[in-house]
C-alpha cells in the first residue's frame, strides 16, 4: 500500500527533527534548555514509533511507544525536581 510509504516518510521527517532538537541539547546554555530538548525528543520519538508500527505492519511494536509515552516524563520530573532544589 502507498499509505505505508507515507508513514515511513513521515517517520523519517520526524527523525530529522530529532536532529534539530539534538542541536539544542548540545548548545543549550542552561540545564532547563537541555531538558526541554530531551522532552521534545521524547515526543518526537513516540510519534515516530507509532508511525513505524503502522509502516512496518506489525501491531505488537506499538507497545514500545506506549511505554515511552508513559515513562519518558519521569526523567523530566526528576530533572525538574533537581532544579527546584528538592530530592534532598
Amino acid at each position: 500500500m502507498i499509505a505505508e510509504l507515507g508513514f515511513l516518510v513521515a517517520a523519517a521527517v520526524l527523525v530529522g527533527y530529532v536532529f534539530v532538537s539534538m542541536g539544542r541539547l548540545a548548545a543549550g546554555p542552561t540545564t532547563p534548555d537541555r531538558a526541554v530538548a530531551l522532552d521534545t525528543i521524547n515526543t518526537l520519538v513516540v510519534a515516530t514509533m507509532v508511525l513505524l508500527g503502522a509502516a512496518l505492519g506489525q501491531m505488537v511494536l506499538v507497545d514500545v511507544a506506549i511505554v515511552y509515552a508513559l515513562l519518558s516524563f519521569i526523567a523530566t520530573l526528576y530533572i525538574a525536581r533537581y532544579l527546584e532544589g528538592g530530592l534532598r
Binding site: 510519534a47 503502522a54 506499538v62 511507544a65 515511552y68 509515552a69 519518558s72 516524563f73 527546584e84
Partner: protein
Amino acid sequence: MKAFLYALLAIGAVFNGLGAFALIRFPDVYTRIHGATKCTTFGSIFSILAVVIYGFARGGGEGGTLAVHALLALFFLLITNPTGSHALARGAHRAGVRPVGAVVDRLEEKR
C-alpha cells in the same frame, strides 16, 4: 481516504517541525518550553490520529489492536507531556533562570 491520511500526516509533520524550529530559534527557556511542547504535542496528535484511522480502516484483529494501542499512546502523551513541561518551567524558574527581556515577573512578586 488516502488523501485524508496524507493530509493528517502532513499537518503532523509541519507542526512537529514548527516545534523543533521553536526549540532552536526562541530566545529563552520559557518560550522554548512553550513553543516546543505545544507544537510537538499538537503535531503528534495528528500523526498518531493518522495511524488510528489507518488501523480502524484496516480492520480485523490486528488493525483494531494497532488503533487502540496507538490511541493509548496518544492518551498518555497528552497527559504526560504538559505535566512534564509544567514541572520543568517551574523548576527552571526556581533555579533562577530569567526570561529574556522580561520587565516584570509576576510569579516572583506573588511569592
